[in-house]
C-alpha cells in the first residue's frame, strides 16, 4: 500500500493546559508572519524527526512524533493537555482540507461514511473560527462537512463571514443535503455570504421521491432538497449535485441525469461518485454493493447526457480499470490524500498517476472484478 499520510499522530506534548490550535511555521516564515508568537509553533527538523516549539511567554513543545510525515510547516494542529494525540486540522498543500461543522444530521443515508451522532458539539464552531484565522491566506480551497453543516444556522453564517474576511479568495465547498434551505430565509442568510466562491454540494439520489427518500431514509426529504435547490438557484448560488453510485441509484441514474438537466439546469457541476466503504455503507453492504464493472452502461448514458448538454460532469472515487475507456476523460483523482491508497498490484500500472485509486477502507469484499494494472502495450497500438 502506498499513499495516505494520516491526519493524526502521537507525540510527547508538554506545556499546554487547555486544548490549543496553533499554526506550525518554519523560523524563517515566522519572522515575517502577521501571527502573534502565542499562535505559532516553530518547526525544527532534528535527527530524531521534527519537533515543534511555541516561542515567547507560554512555551509549549511537541517532540518524538510517532509518524514524522504527519506535521509540516504551514499546517494547523490541535494539541490537547495531558494527551499525546496531535491532529492536523489544516494541511498546507493538500487539496482536501475540510472543516468539520457538526456530527448532527437530519438525514440517515444508507451509505453514510460519517454516521451522525446527536450530541451537542457547538464547540466546533469556535474551533472552525480559530482554524480559519490560521489557514494560509492564499489557500485555494477549503471544504466544510459534517453531519449537516446548515443545522448550525446562524453559527454557520459566522463561519462563512470569517472565511470572507480571512480568506476572501479561497474557494469553499460545503457538503449539505440542502433540506434546510427549503426555508427561504435561511437560504438567503447563508447562500449570499462569500457567494461567488462557495459551492454547495448537494446529493440527489433519484428522480422520484420514493427513491431519494429511501436512500436518505427520511420521508419528504426529496421535496425538501428540491425546494432547497430552487432557493439556491434563485439566489444564484453555485451548486454541485452529487450522486453516490450503488445498487439503489444505478437503475434510474440515466433518468436522474435527465431530471437534473431539465429541472435543475442552473447547477454548475454534477459529480457521480463511487461508494466509500465506511460507516453505514459497511452495515448496508448487501443493499448497496454492485460491482462498478456491472454499471458502466448506465454510467455512460448519464455522463454523456450531461456532457453533451453542457453540464460539467465528473466521475469520483472510481479507479480507471473499472471504467469504460470512453469515460476516462471524466474521471477525477477525487479521494482525499489521507485516505487514498493504491494496492500493491497497482505498482506497475502505467496509468496509476492518473487514477483515483482506492479508499484505504476498501477491503477485498469491495473490490471490483475489473481491477487490474494496465500495461504499456495496451496503449501502444
Amino acid at each position: 500500500m502506498t499513499g495516505a499520510v494520516p491526519l493524526h499522530t502521537h507525540a510527547r506534548v508538554s506545556g499546554v493546559d487547555r486544548p490549543e490550535i496553533l499554526k506550525v511555521l518554519s523560523p524563517e516564515e515566522a519572522v515575517g508572519s502577521h501571527l502573534p508568537p502565542q499562535d505559532v509553533l516553530l518547526f525544527a527538523e532534528g535527527i530524531d524527526g521534527p519537533s515543534l516549539t511555541r516561542p515567547g511567554d507560554a512555551p509549549a513543545r511537541v517532540e518524538d512524533l510517532r509518524d514524522r510525515r504527519v506535521i509540516r510547516p504551514g499546517d494547523v494542529v490541535r494539541l490537547r493537555p495531558g494527551g499525546s494525540l496531535v491532529s492536523v486540522l489544516y494541511r498546507r498543500g493538500s487539496t482536501s482540507n475540510t472543516l468539520f461543522a457538526t456530527e448532527r444530521c437530519n438525514s440517515l443515508c444508507l451509505m453514510c461514511s460519517q454516521p451522525p451522532r446527536d450530541e451537542d458539539d457547538r464547540w466546533r464552531v469556535d474551533e472552525m473560527l480559530r482554524v480559519i484565522s490560521l489557514v494560509d491566506r492564499e489557500e485555494l480551497q477549503l471544504g466544510i462537512t459534517g453531519g449537516e453543516p446548515t443545522l448550525l444556522g446562524e453559527d454557520l453564517a459566522r463561519v462563512l463571514d470569517a472565511i470572507s474576511v480571512y480568506l476572501p479568495d479561497t474557494q469553499v465547498q460545503i457538503l449539505t443535503n440542502g433540506r434546510t434551505f427549503a426555508d427561504a430565509a435561511l437560504a438567503e442568510r447563508l447562500a449570499t455570504i462569500h457567494r461567488d466562491r462557495t459551492v454547495w454540494a448537494v446529493p440527489l439520489y433519484g428522480d422520484v421521491a420514493r427513491l431519494h427518500d429511501e436512500v436518505v431514509d427520511v420521508e419528504g426529504a426529496f421535496r425538501e432538497t428540491l425546494d432547497g435547490l430552487y432557493q439556491l438557484g434563485r439566489l444564484r448560488a453555485r451548486v454541485e449535485i452529487r450522486v453516490v453510485l450503488h445498487q439503489l441509484t444505478i437503475p434510474r441514474l440515466a433518468q436522474l441525469s435527465a431530471f437534473i438537466y431539465r429541472r435543475l439546469p442552473f447547477v454548475n457541476h454534477v459529480a457521480l461518485m463511487g461508494l466509500e466503504p465506511m460507516g453505514f455503507a459497511k452495515t448496508n453492504r448487501d443493499r448497496l454493493w454492485i460491482d462498478p464493472a456491472d454499471y458502466q452502461a448506465e454510467l455512460a448514458a448519464a455522463v454523456f447526457h450531461l456532457a453533451a448538454r453542457g453540464l460539467p460532469v465528473s466521475i469520483y472515487n472510481l479507479p480507471l480499470c473499472v471504467l469504460d475507456r470512453r469515460l476516462w476523460p471524466f474521471a477525477r483523482q477525487s479521494i482525499s490524500g489521507w485516505k487514498n491508497i493504491y494496492p500493491p498490484d497497482c505498482k506497475d500500472c502505467v496509468v496509476r498517476d492518473h487514477c483515483a485509486g482506492f479508499f484505504a477502507s476498501a477491503g477485498p469484499t469491495w473490490r471490483s472484478r475489473a481491477v487490474r494494472p494496465f500495461q504499456f502495450e495496451e496503449f501502444a497500438a
Binding site: A209, L226, S257, A258, R263, A301, L306, G310
Partner: protein, 457 residues
C-alpha cells in the same frame, strides 16, 4: 413516448403501468403519486425557464426600407412596388424614429433586420440605419446584430465590405434548381437564379463560406421533389436549409389556388426531405434542417429556442416589431403583409408613437385574445403545447379571430404533423438519428456530440 396501451393506462389505471414507466412519468410531472405533495413549484420553475424570453421585450426589429423590388414573385407575401415607383421608400425621419423605438425595448440583445421589397435597392438607407444604430449603442451597450434579406443581385463589393464590417448576416431565397426558381421568381431579365448564384459567390468571397443562409419557399411545384431540393442546396455548398410552406398571407393568399396545397401534403414533403437530411448526417455529412432544430430544442431541452414565430405568449409585438416603409408599425412581418391587402386591424400605430403606446394599442389588445396557446380551445389540452406556440396574426387574418379554429387551422395542422413525426422518430430510438437530433437541439456540431447519452422517451 407512450404507446396507445400505456396512454390508456395513464388516463384510467396508472397503477397498471410498469413501475419504471410510472417513475418516468412521475419524474416528468405527468403523474402525481397518491398522497404526495404537489409539483407546482417545480412546474412553475420549469415554466419560468421556458418562458424567460418574456422578460426581455422585443428583440427583433424589422425595417422595410423599401417596398420596391425587381422581382415579381407570384406568391410574394408583400404587395411589391415597381422598381421605379415613387413613394415606396422609408424616410430618414421615420428611420430615426424607428431606431428610437428599437432602443426603447429593454431587450439585452437587439437584432435589426432589413427587408423589402429588395433592401439592397436602398443600401444607402441601410448604411445610415446601421451607422446610427451603432452610434446609439455606444451608450446603450446592447448586443447589437444586423441581418438582411436580399436576392443578392444588387450587392457589390462596397456593399459586401460594409456587411462584413458590421457583421450583417445575409439571408436569401433559393426555391430550387434554376428552372423552378426562375419560374417562381421572375425578374425582368429572367435570370434570377443565375444572378443570385453570382451574388452568392461574391458574398461568400467577402463574408466567408457560411456568410449567407438560404431558404426556399415550398410551393406546389416544389412538393414533388424534396430530395432534389435538398440536393440543390448541398450542391450550392449550404449546410442547412429552412423548410417552410408557402405562406398563406397577403398576396400569397390570392394565388393560393396556383401555389397552395393541403398542409398534409407539406408534412409528407417535409418528412421525405428530413429523412434524406438525416441520412446525410448518418453518413457523416453535417446538414441541418433549421425548423426541426427549433422544434427539437423545445422538445429535448428545458429552454426556448428564441424563435419569435413559435412562442406562447405569441412573439407578435412582444418579441418582434416591423417598421414599414410608410412609417406604420406592425407586430410581425405577416401582419404587415395582411395590412398590405387592406386589413388594417393589425396596425399598431405610427412609428413616431412610443413603444409603450404601440404595445398598448387596440391591435395588440385584439391579438392578445389569441396569444396564449395554453388557454386556447384545443391547444389547452394538446400534448404538444409546451413545445408549440400561438399565432394570433395568422388566425386573425385567416379565421377573422385571433383565437382561431384548430380544426381548420393550417398552423395547427403543420405543427401537429411535424411534432408527431419528430416524437415518433425519437420513440424509434435510432442512435444515429438521436445523435443528429441532439446536436440540432443543442445548437452544436454533430461531431461535438460524440454520444447523446440518455435520451428521454
Amino acid at each position: 413516448m407512450l404507446d396507445a396501451i400505456d396512454g390508456v393506462r395513464l388516463a384510467e389505471r396508472p397503477y397498471e403501468l410498469a413501475p419504471s414507466r410510472r417513475d418516468d412519468l412521475e419524474a416528468r410531472g405527468l403523474l402525481t403519486p397518491l398522497g404526495s405533495a404537489d409539483w407546482s413549484e417545480l412546474e412553475r420553475a420549469a415554466h419560468r425557464t421556458r418562458k424567460s424570453f418574456l422578460l426581455d421585450g422585443p428583440a427583433l426589429h424589422i425595417f422595410v426600407v423599401t417596398l420596391r423590388c425587381d422581382h415579381s414573385c407570384q406568391y410574394c407575401q408583400v404587395s411589391r412596388a415597381a422598381l421605379t415607383a415613387q413613394g415606396f421608400d422609408m424616410s430618414l425621419t421615420d428611420a430615426e424614429a424607428a431606431l428610437d423605438r428599437v432602443f426603447e425595448s429593454p431587450s439585452p440583445t437587439l437584432t435589426i433586420e432589413f427587408q423589402g421589397g429588395e433592401p439592397a435597392l436602398r443600401f444607402d438607407l441601410v448604411r445610415h440605419i446601421v451607422e446610427s444604430a451603432v452610434r446609439r449603442n455606444a451608450e446603450a451597450g446592447r448586443t447589437l446584430r444586423f441581418s438582411m434579406v436580399s436576392t443578392l443581385h444588387h450587392l457589390g463589393s462596397d456593399e459586401l465590405a460594409f456587411c462584413r464590417e458590421h457583421g450583417i448576416h445575409l439571408s436569401t431565397s433559393i426555391d430550387g434548381p434554376a428552372q423552378l426558381h426562375d419560374a417562381q421568381r421572375p425578374n425582368p431579365t429572367r435570370d434570377a437564379h443565375a444572378r443570385t448564384l453570382e451574388g452568392l459567390a461574391r458574398a461568400r468571397e467577402v463574408l466567408g463560406g457560411d456568410g449567407v443562409v438560404a431558404l426556399p419557399t415550398v410551393t406546389r411545384a416544389a412538393l414533388a421533389d424534396p430530395i432534389g431540393l435538398v440536393e440543390h442546396y448541398r450542391a450550392l455548398g449550404f449546410r442547412s436549409i429552412f423548410l417552410r410552406p408557402v405562406s398563406p398571407y397577403g398576396f400569397a393568399r390570392k394565388t393560393k389556388r396556383v401555389h397552395g396545397y393541403d398542409m398534409d401534403a407539406f408534412v409528407g414533403f417535409y418528412v421525405r426531405a428530413l429523412d434524406h437530411i438525416l441520412n446525410l448526417n448518418a453518413q457523416g455529412e453535417p446538414f441541418e434542417e433549421i425548423y426541426a432544430g427549433i422544434l427539437l430544442r423545445h422538445i429535448l431541452t428545458p429552454f426556448h429556442s428564441g424563435y419569435v414565430d413559435l412562442r406562447s405568449p405569441a412573439g407578435a409585438g412582444l418579441g418582434v416589431l416591423v417598421y414599414n416603409y410608410d412609417g406604420q408599425v406592425y407586430p410581425s412581418d405577416e401582419a404587415r403583409m395582411v395590412a398590405e391587402t387592406g386589413d388594417r386591424r393589425l396596425a399598431l400605430g405610427d412609428v413616431q408613437t412610443s413603444l409603450d403606446e404601440l404595445l398598448d394599442s387596440p391591435a395588440m389588445a385584439w391579438l392578445r385574445q389569441g396569444a396564449v396557446a395554453e388557454e386556447l380551445p384545443g391547444c389547452d389540452r394538446c400534448a404538444f403545447v409546451p413545445f408549440c406556440g400561438a399565432d394570433p396574426v395568422y388566425h386573425g387574418a385567416i379565421h377573422g379571430d385571433p383565437v382561431g379554429d384548430r380544426a381548420t387551422s393550417e398552423f395547427c395542422a403543420k405543427h401537429m404533423g411535424l411534432f408527431r413525426h419528430l416524437f415518433r422518430s425519437i420513440a424509434d430510438g435510432d442512435p444515429t438519428t438521436l445523435r443528429t437530433f441532439t446536436a440540432w437541439a443543442l445548437g452544436k456540431s454533430r461531431t461535438d456530440i460524440a454520444e447523446p447519452g440518455y435520451v428521454e422517451r
